[in-house]
């Protein structure tokens, strides 16, 4: 296992925990997006560029748009 892989594994672990421990949904979304980018980098470093591309598209685009709109819709009048 190379140094880059070890660093990315640790970062993914740290950000994965940070996603769970984020209290406010909006903050959680941004932590989750960062987590998705790190996960994509990890996939890339592990020689799986196809999976990395899917993760970038879904984790940093599709999920944030849906969650943001849902948050807008549900948090009004509060």
């Amino acid at each position: 296992m190379s140094l880059l892989q070890i660093v990315l594994y640790l970062l993914v672990a740290v950000f994965g925990a940070a996603v769970v421990f984020s209290k406010r949904p909006v903050n959680q979304l941004f932590v989750y997006t960062t987590f998705g980018m790190l996960l994509a980098l990890l996939f890339f470093v592990l020689h799986a560029p196809d999976v990395a591309l899917s993760e970038i598209a879904v984790g940093t685009l599709a999920v944030p748009i849906m969650v943001l709109v849902t948050l807008m819709k549900t948090s009004r009048k509060t």
Partner: protein, 251 residues
């Protein structure tokens, strides 16, 4: 259950789970040394028998094409479900659904409005590139479609919702998405009737390394690209329309 008992139960199960996981991971093969025969087999015949350099694409659209059919229809059904749910919401709030010109889009400078339009073209081209060369380089129908559909979001960011609604015609996108899903199944059925096996690679494989090569793989990838790109566009359209209704409800 008192907090004390809860803590004891938690600690007990946590230690137990940790122990079992540690014991199980001791039996794993060393890092990067998975010794399944499937990997070597696919790597060997992928290029020789299917004229494909990017083996994951060959697995997705040929060797395990039937799994991909299932995944495409999971996506298709999810989009249909979302559309169904939001059409019910729309009927409830019909009186608020008048299109309103975006104030934000009018107040922006020219550079901020037009730079993302160029970006949209760039991202759309990147998505098509990923999908068209899926058999040569990493990528394929799903990745390309998701990038293409996502790039359309720049239209919304630059020009606001009315422009996005204008650019992404819902009926056209619905039709194209269904056409992509249908084409996947139709190619599979055609193979069933011509060659006797569902999703068998029936088309000429072409020259390895050419843009159109890999036989059916290339066309299945294109079908998935159309389905995913249009599915993402429709999803964003119905979700972003919800923000418009929220703004109007508040205003």
């Amino acid at each position: 259950m008192s907090p004390r008992i809860r803590t004891v139960v938690y600690l007990f199960s946590a230690v137990l789970t940790f122990g079992v996981l540690m014991y199980a991971s001791g039996g794993l093969p060393p890092f990067g040394a998975f010794s399944g025969p499937y990997t070597d087999f696919v790597l060997q015949i992928g290029t020789l028998e299917r004229s494909v350099y990017n083996i994951p694409t060959a697995v997705n659209f040929d060797f395990r094409g039937f799994d991909t059919l299932g995944e495409e229809f999971i996506f298709f059904t999810s989009v249909a479900g979302v559309l169904f749910l939001f059409s019910a919401v729309k009927a409830e709030t019909q009186q608020h659904a008048e299109p309103m010109e975006s104030e934000r889009a009018r107040g922006q400078s020219g550079a901020i409005r037009w730079f993302p339009i160029g970006l949209t073209a760039f991202i759309a081209a990147l998505g098509m590139d990923l999908a068209a060369h899926g058999q040569l380089t990493p990528g394929g129908g799903f990745q390309g479609g998701a990038v293409f559909g996502g790039g359309l979001a720049c239209i919304y960011l630059a020009l606001g919702l009315p422009a996005f609604v204008h650019a992404v015609k819902k009926e056209t996108m619905d039709f194209l998405e269904a056409l992509g899903a249908f084409s996947f199944g139709a190619l599979g059925m055609a193979a069933l009737f011509i060659a006797g096996a569902f999703l068998q690679n029936i088309m000429p494989l072409g020259q390895t390394g050419a843009t159109v090569s890999g036989g059916t793989i290339y066309f299945l990838s294109c079908a998935v690209f159309v389905e995913i790109a249009c599915g993402f566009a429709v999803l964003m359209l119905v979700f972003l329309k919800q923000t418009q209704q929220t703004e109007e409800d508040e205003g």
